[in-house]
Symmetry: D2
Subunit: 475 residues, 4 copies
């Protein structure tokens, strides 16, 4: 019997620290050997000329999530994990959302049920706490954390999700005691409402109004506030989807003071701008709705600032914030109310499949970041921060054989026609990239190959996790 189920030969292995030429031996879905030459395997994949990367982990995706009356998210677990696998990912982390007034546990159980048996790749579930009642704080949330739902997101905006400052402090306090990781959506609720109503009164109801209603200071102020709360409670937090230079400066300032503030950004903040919400010159007055997400994309100066932040370490995570809606759909971007005002255009972009190629191309191929930094930003830090490490996030003995074979020289153009997600458009239609995932291997099994998803729906598992507080990327 051969030593290994699978050998990957001739590739260049990349971790967050190192780049080496070596073969990989895989047994029982895990990496069992790394060596100059591994010959004795049941199956062999030739990775000559390719990079062997840890499979992408996308720790910020929305799948099949409740999205308000009449609105339906464009992906279920099957389509989302299919698209993720095609895009070089081996694990994604969606959110079980507590509807206000409901049980967090019930919501979590129902959401997990949607995932079980419906995933091409592994999935780990964050929670969204929208209603920190005494029952939630006193019983449900601590129990769920103990069971392995060790991370949750809180919102500083949205009518049905926003927590006030007292609630934020209370959940931060709980997280500190329970060892959970907290993600913060930092935009100021009241400020957005004030702006949105003002814009509506002025008749500025088109999708572009969404960008006008959330200027950078809205995000900066909320970031400062979240940082202050984290400082008071002495809790490390993750500020997600940072879009602008001003919020980034708050985070950099906090870190220079020794605070443990982690930060995530997304491809949309590196490649899109608020101008896109004007519709890119299309005749269709609603075309800008395709780019409505929160925070909104900013301008080229902020793009450059965010790149600087990626380069100098402010950002430790690049996620997609995949939040897919169909455009030409009465239950999506073109719902009737959304056509009346930007306030009702569902917020979010599909991006689960395009995150890795865009970041690789604009980052690594363009000379902005190293290969190792790419791996850190797209896999290792996600695993470390959210409790998947050392099972996932790197290439090493004992790790799940979650791997992406990457062709650094392949040039592709992103086209909706070639994508696997449930949405009917991509914001990056026509975007050219250099570097492409050619094979995705999840726990030792090839799940996608050259654009075809070939794995079983039941291959992916729902993972429980424990956060190791020492595994923060920095320090």
């Amino acid at each position: 019997m051969p030593d290994f189920d699978l050998a990957i030969r001739g590739g260049t292995l990349v971790t967050a620290a190192d780049t080496v030429r070596a073969d990989l031996g895989i047994r029982d879905g895990r990496i069992a050997a790394i060596a100059e030459r591994i010959a004795d395997a049941t199956r062999t994949i030739d990775a000559s000329g390719l990079l062997v990367l840890p499979g992408g982990i996308d720790s910020h995706v929305h799948i099949a999530q409740e999205s308000g009356p009449g609105i339906v998210m464009a992906d279920d677990f099957a389509s989302a994990t299919r698209a993720a696998a095609a895009g070089g990912n081996t694990c994604v982390m969606p959110f079980a959302l507590q509807p206000r007034g409901s049980s967090l546990r019930a919501a979590t159980q129902a959401y997990r049920a949607l995932a079980e048996g419906q995933c091409h790749i592994d999935v780990a579930i964050h929670l969204i706490v929208s209603d920190p009642t005494p029952a939630v704080l006193g019983q449900e949330l601590p129990a769920l954390i103990a069971e392995g739902y060790t991370s949750f997101k809180v919102f500083m905006t949205y009518d049905d999700l926003v927590l006030n400052d007292r609630q934020l402090l209370d959940v931060f306090d709980l997280a500190r005691g329970a060892g959970a990781r907290v993600m913060v959506h930092a935009e100021g609720y009241d400020t957005i409402r004030y702006m949105a109503e003002k814009l509506e009164r002025a008749g500025e109801t088109r999708p572009y109004g969404h960008a006008l209603s959330r200027p950078q200071l809205v995000e900066r102020e909320a970031a400062h506030r979240a940082i202050s709360h984290a400082e008071l409670v002495d809790l490390p937090i993750v500020i997600v989807h940072v879009s602008g230079e001003q919020a980034m400066e708050q985070i950099a300032w906090a870190r220079s003071r020794g605070l443990k503030i982690h930060a995530e950004t997304c491809p949309q903040y590196l490649t899109l701008t608020a101008e896109d919400l004007k519709g890119r010159g299309a005749d269709d007055p609603m075309a800008g709705a395709k780019y409505v997400c929160s925070p909104p994309p900013r301008d080229t100066a902020s793009q450059e600032a965010i790149w600087r932040g990626i380069q100098n370490g402010v950002f430790e995570l690049v996620s997609s914030d995949h939040c897919p809606f169909r455009y030409d759909d009465a239950r999506g971007k073109l719902n009737p109310r959304g056509q009346q005002s930007f306030r009702y255009v569902p917020n979010g972009l599909p991006g689960i499949e395009t995150r890795l190629p865009i970041l690789f191309s604009e980052g690594v191929s363009a000379g902005r970041i190293s290969l190792n930094r790419f791996v850190e930003l797209t896999a290792t830090n996600h695993a470390k921060l959210y409790g998947l490490y050392p099972r996932k996030g790197s290439i090493g003995i004992g790790f799940d054989a979650d791997l992406t074979l990457w062709d650094p020289n392949r040039r592709e153009t992103i086209r909706q026609d070639n994508l696997h997600h449930g949405s009917d458009y991509t914001p990056w239609e026509g975007f050219s990239v250099t570097g492409w995932p050619v094979t995705t291997i999840a726990r030792g099994t090839v799940v996608a190959e050259d654009g075809r998803v070939i794995g079983d729906l039941g291959h992916g598992q729902v993972l429980d996790r424990t956060i190791d507080p020492a595994l923060r990327p920095t320090g």
Copy 2:
């Protein structure tokens, strides 16, 4: 014949990114395999309960360097590499110094000759450019860089080393074209002279006067100046031995603006203060001379700031700046002129053997930094920045088998009696640490074991290098 010359079994491997339980197989001095279990080896070392770290690389040490009339450095290559090996290092980088008015090439050749055949571990030689004449800039330096001396240090102070701003700009320009790495000693020459003369006139001639003559702003101003020159020339530089919060803030500011400024600090700036130059209450009025180094240690606020900088990524290197003199020696700290004024006390501390235990204990054991960050700060980043990577600096297939087996729980007290360097004292006499290097393996050969250096003097080689500009730790 067994597959491997040496197997290291049962240890926990640590790289800058990952921590995994695995065995190592070594062949021909290089790492040939990493696997769950490696059985088939000529020799086996049991590393159970130990960490297996990349051997320490100390990229900033002074060995057998010309030190002015009547002063002799306390280490030659034999003693320095002996001490380094005992302290867990597998490579050190001393400096070939060009005496002003002399040929850089001649100095380099003479210095290399001192090293050849006299080293327990590998050595790579930086240059010190003190006299950038047209001949040096036009011929010698470019040729030496092409031959593998790909890094050099410049000084902004010291009578016989200081370069003026024009010279700095010219050598920066040359380095940019030639692909060399430049290290900068950032303290302002004129300011120090002004202060020293003022202190002497006031009768403040004791060793403590050394600290008074170099307040933080002396370092801050020079750091700002070096940064400005690097910005103009568009050259990444390394600002070495950063001692104080003020210089650190300049570096952090530069990086926030997107400049590629690298920074090194040393254990003395994390554990000593200017108060030590007062002699720690000893009767001996010269006792403070033991702590005279440049920049001088500061205060506890700066220690905390430097720790913050280590944690949030400002610092990418921790070196020893080993610069050993004997204390009780007329050719060392107690030379006759030095007893008249601090200006003639030779600058420098012995630290090559204590760098790793001190940083491990105060950093990792004290919970300030992760194991991975320790490896990055003491080995990987040195190799990447100075062109030793991917030969050295990590644990991976094809890397030199430069390894340190580290007992993270062993408690030791630093004592001069137990050290191997040529100096007659250590500034850390009596300092307690948790964590200790128990075995040092250089290119597959055990060179130090439990405090005994057992390798041959000829084992170490003098390495040539090529700088890969993409291998900067950040970005």
Copy 3:
């Protein structure tokens, strides 16, 4: 008939810009002439050796204000203006507070009625908006502003006063349109409640708990938030009673970005610390209650920072935030609930009479600020920012003859026994000062002389005001 009703001869006149030796001629309560020599007057005051300053304007005092159940403020208009006059002031600005659920207009009228005929010196009334209902925003407040109540304060904390962010934005918007000046009490409500409840649960109920419940970041966060709102609405605001370095840094940052943020501080933040809330070593466990005010005094580092901010222009106003309660009184600091928890100790210090001597002594006499800056900080800027200029706030033709004759060399010790306010203690008992107001002249009439208040209660008038937006101190 003499040309002037009153001549002040031989003094040194000080304005915010200039210091000159000249005589003053006063007619009909106004300054009619400034000359080398003014001889022809009905009455002459010899000011030889004295400074002639614009009378102090204290734009932040609380008088006879509703203070919650069972609590009574220690000053009515008679006693407050008596104390103010004795302390060198000629105008004070208290607040008409809108109780939540009530009419702002009614509250204002009732409050004005308390003042009419009961004042030794002039009074101008700010509003406090605690309940910005549609009626208040749509009718009452615009009308009151038009009638001359051109400034109002909003609170970001206190159960019965706090406005949420939306309310803040709405009143900022209104103020921008109506040309009103907005003062902001910047402390975060939810954060304070969170801390207070936590401290109570931990049994930390003594007065010192008040300081613990409001660390600097509580003030910093609220300052940042208020600045962001002001930036969005494009409204200049005044952040009052800034106590700490962290909030100050936010203000300095905002101003460096071109935002029009004005800032006020108070003598308590220059001379007291949180340690005072421990009771200064008194046996009485409640003694610290004498120093309970919001924000609480900080530490000596913050004192120095605030002085720097006064020197470099961050602060444009020094007010007293006089908010007097009796100590040994069941309706004051020692009310029954206050003895149970710091949360019920009424917030505030008496300071209307001591502001000028303390700032003069610690500022001018100690060499920290110039005479002109003293005048600017205590009179001119108050008049300019709050619409009393050019009637009040300087010495010039046509200004009200509001003057304080000041002996810069007189040494005094502050004693409760010598003060005129309604409180039974002063926080500065025993505090020694150099510089003292010897005569206060309000609209040409001597109202206080050497510690005796000799004016009529009816002399002071209630003034209406118009804000001139161009009269900001800076720019």
Copy 4:
């Protein structure tokens, strides 16, 4: 006999603090009375509808200064003070320059001789120390300071003027002991030489090369260095003609740390840009030479930054840095060597006559600064910082009757044809302004009226000065 020699009636008096309607009575060249109405005067000027401002003080002008071989400055004292008077100034401060290798005293005496009897308005002479020999530091400079030459400028660039850091520290030290005010030209000598030679090698010799050779970081670095020296010596300094945002940020940073750093800027940095050195589209390839000054004008972002600095108090002085050369003149801008390379185009712009109208129009009329701030920036602060106060710089009893009657509404277009300076061009040809000086009164005598200079050449005196360290504008 009337009480006053001159009455100025009906105007609005403006000081750095106040704006009041009042009449002025002048006797013996000084202000003797300010009153509602002054009737009894030998001569009366009707200032109805006009502002009465303190005459402009231009503390940074170059007149008849040695300018290198073959180059002649375009103004002598007669023409410079004629132009200054026409432009609303009543005092200017040129520099007595010590040629290196020569006596500072001899240079000063020779320079003063040029001025005596040749000035329309008063003049006070700064020194330029280019050669701080022991004789200069030990005897000449202290003696000259004691005689009333209480301020001097030092240069960090220019071949024949540059001081090295040690010399800067020594003269700072002397200034501190002697109570002199030091002005610093902050640009880095070596950096400029490096850039200039590089540009020449690249054939970039046109006037625009001047701007390229002095990027903002050249000024920023020198400013940081000067600040550090000032910090070490504990000496307040004035950093003159700040042109760019980056240097300004250093100054703001220094002040936030409590350092006493004063800053001056000039109209050219508010209205011109480096693009002007390209010649404004003229056919003449040398046309850009008209705008060659040091530091060079920057860009519109820096203009906005400098305005912010004026508004928020970073800048306390606006001077002209008048340094006039003729353009179409072989001894001026078009000298033969200057046509070969920008390095030989004499540095400087004529601006003594246009400073006040440009700043008034762009500052006061455009709503950026108040009238009082205008007076502070153009007169009061100059007098205070350089020892002319309280004789000059404001309107008050005992001050010299140095006054400018200013029509705030008059619209004019700046034209070389209408100017009185010795240069043959103005950089502001065609620049439209609102606000114009209509009458200039120097010590009670009208010296310019509606564009005609009518005073005697002998009217201006050379003034000695004493610096009062307490009279810094801030603090």
